[in-house]
């Protein structure tokens, strides 16, 4: 085909070379994921297995451990409720309303992703710590924020703000508003329209966002470490327990709690994938 003097540039490497390159990439990808993700997981599982059944039972019976899981659960549930409700409201505003400052708000929502959790913790200390802006008022009311549950919930919520919003906004934009308009012309009130039409249409995206939020708030440690004061049996979450266990050379209980958290994460991962697929399937129709 090529005329004399014309340069022929092969777009793809020829057959065998292409297969080799392709195989090489697969090997690199497998090694990367294998070493960085699978190996640590197997490592923890192995460590727990080594420690034996009795260690698992005695660890899980420890009041400190039980309280740590309980506290993580409480923080996660509150975080999920708050970020879901406000997240959906913010998502609707970002997706549907056009007002000056909308782009800025959309950008601010992503801020928690860019800020290190440790800094989030410090910001809370600045606001609520001794001499902080809000400290005198709360102290006068006898409400304890720092080194107590409120600040731990607060920083976790801050960190988890983006997840629901980021998942719901594109879904809202995708489904549009004509179904909502149709509902209104059929006599539905705003609340009926929201619960029977809007919420149904965004449900998989919302659940996806909730699953991400749950995973993030269970795993959160940096910000919580700073604001909690790490009081055993009081302000110690599951991740903080793991941290302290290793600090105090109690490796085995640490491994047990860590593995439990890892298993919860795997369950969440499966849920996340399911929700994502459902959402994608719904958007195709």
């Amino acid at each position: 085909m090529s005329r004399p003097g014309e340069l022929r540039v092969p777009v793809f490497p020829s057959g065998t070379r292409r297969r080799l390159v392709h195989g090489g990439f697969i090997a690199i990808a497998l090694l990367y994921v294998g070493i960085l993700v699978i190996a640590p997981l197997i490592g923890i599982a192995w460590a727990v297995f080594q420690a034996g059944w009795s260690t698992i039972v005695s660890t899980l019976r420890q009041p400190d451990v039980q309280h740590a899981f309980y506290l993580t659960g409480v923080i996660t549930v509150i975080t999920v409720i708050v970020t879901s409700i406000f997240g959906v409201i913010v998502a609707i505003v970002i997706a549907r309303d056009h007002f000056p400052g909308r782009a800025l708000m959309s950008a601010l929502v992503d801020l928690p992703l860019a800020v290190s959790p440790v800094i989030v913790g410090l910001m809370a200390v600045v606001l609520f710590g001794l001499g902080g802006w809000f400290e005198p008022w709360f102290t006068s009311q006898g409400i304890r924020i720092l080194f107590a549950l409120p600040s731990m919930v607060l920083v976790t919520i801050f960190i988890c703000i983006p997840f629901v919003i980021r998942e719901v906004v594109p879904v809202l934009q995708e489904v549009g508003i004509t179904e909502e308009e149709a509902a209104r012309t059929l006599g539905a009130s705003s609340l009926q329209t929201f619960f029977r039409v809007t919420l149904k249409n965004i449900r998989w995206g919302l659940l996806y966002g909730i699953a991400l939020t749950t995973a993030r708030s269970i795993g959160e440690i940096g910000a919580v470490l700073i604001v909690s004061g790490q009081i055993t049996g009081q302000t110690e979450t599951a991740t903080l327990y793991v941290l302290r266990a290793f600090d105090q050379f109690q490796d085995d209980p640490g491994f047990v709690v860590a593995l439990t958290l890892a298993l919860v994460s795997i369950v969440l991962l499966v849920l996340i994938e399911t929700f994502k697929r459902r959402q994608e399937r719904m958007q195709r129709t």
Partner: protein, 372 residues
């Protein structure tokens, strides 16, 4: 089944309606009335403000000024919920996570009607739109025509005072559109619910409507029966938009539009000497092979067979283009390059200064462009 007595027609009246979006005036001083039990068409090109008028009547859009009346009661400030209108959207807007029967029942269930009544009404309506076998399907399992029938059943279920249809056939292909149009006509005969139909399709408006409101750039150009709008266009825009026309440019001489050595009647209302345009329907052009009294010669430039008739593109001595349509059995002697004699008995003349359909060129519905 669903008798006329259930839905007494409700006239709609719109007075001096304006709508501004920022600096853009979408609707300018629109006034018209839709008669009880009739179909009124809002006809105009896209961007003419017709959908905005419909959405303001439904309460989905708030008028900048003006008033909306239904059944002699002012509705301008009522909520969508209070207006009880049936609205059919161009893209169906069915609830995607609900079955056909749940979709149809929606307007009843939000008003907390007893379940047994809902079931009965849904059954009636599904029979009416001939979809009884599809009650448990989801919208994505239906064809476009079926979806729009579900949308119509859903809109009719809560017994609306009026039915508002926003380009209801716009998203369907030509065959289905024809079918559904005829079907809607029958349905309207049966139900007699006052309907307002927004469309950019003149055939749709001429076929379905009792009255046509022609809109252009946010304004009402003409309100009238299909015959009036077609035969007596009030403005150059209507003459160009409703039905196809050729435009001949000339000036007014003794109540005629004169171009070159020839003239056509119909300019009695214009000032002598003024420059003017004559709009001529393709079927109002008589084509003969021999000269007639008052006929003018023309050269055949193109002959396009449209089935039982042909479109003939003619060039007049002064270089203007004229389009004629004639039955195929009258085509004898009318062939490419031949000289024929045309007789223009009916024309509608307007001053050149008045606006027209699309700038300096006129495009008829079939896409043939006649240069001025």
């Amino acid at each position: 089944m669903t008798g006329t007595h259930e839905m007494p027609g409700t006239p709609i009246r719109v007075e001096n309606l304006w709508k501004r979006f920022g600096a853009f005036e979408a609707v300018k001083d629109v006034t018209f009335t839709a008669e009880a039990g009739s179909i009124t068409a809002l006809l105009g090109p896209s961007g003419s403000g017709k959908s905005t008028v419909l959405r303001m009547i439904a309460g989905l859009e708030e008028p900048t000024s003006g008033r909306i009346w239904m059944e002699g009661e002012e509705h301008t400030f009522k909520t969508v919920q209070e207006r009880r209108v049936g609205f059919v959207f161009q893209h169906f807007a069915l609830f995607r996570h609900m079955t056909v029967s749940q979709n149809v029942a929606f307007g009843l269930s939000v008003r907390k009607q007893p379940k047994s009544q809902q079931r009965e009404r849904v059954q009636d309506l599904l029979e009416l739109v001939q979809l009884t076998g599809f009650r448990d399907r989801y919208p994505d399992q239906l064809s476009g025509g079926q979806r729009q029938r579900v949308a119509l059943a859903r809109a009719l279920a809560p017994q609306p005072k009026v039915l508002l249809l926003d380009e209801p056939f716009g998203a369907l292909d030509a065959r289905v559109r024809q079918e559904l149009r005829r079907w809607l006509d029958d349905l309207h005969q049966e139900l007699g619910v006052t309907s307002l139909l927004v469309t950019h399709d003149q055939d749709e408006a001429l076929e379905l409507a009792n009255r046509i409101v022609v809109m252009h750039e946010g304004r009402v150009e003409q309100v009238g029966s299909p015959d009036e709008v077609y035969d007596e266009p009030a403005t150059p825009f209507v003459a160009g938009f409703v039905g196809s026309s050729s435009v001949l440019h000339g000036h007014v001489v003794e109540g005629h539009v004169q171009f070159g050595d020839h003239r056509v009647a119909g300019a009695g209302h214009l000032v002598e000497g003024e420059s003017a345009r004559a709009f001529i329907r393709p079927h109002d052009v008589r084509v003969k092979t021999t000269p007639q009294n008052g006929s003018l010669p023309a050269t055949v430039e193109r002959v396009v067979n449209l089935g039982w008739l042909s479109r003939v593109v003619l060039r007049l001595p002064d270089d203007q283009v004229l389009i004629a349509e004639l039955p195929n059995d009258e085509l004898d002697g009318v062939e490419l390059g031949s000289t024929v004699h045309v007789d223009l008995r009916r024309a509608k003349a307007f001053r050149s200064a008045d606006g027209e359909a699309s700038g300096s060129e006129m495009v008829d519905v079939t896409g043939v462009v006649s240069r001025p």
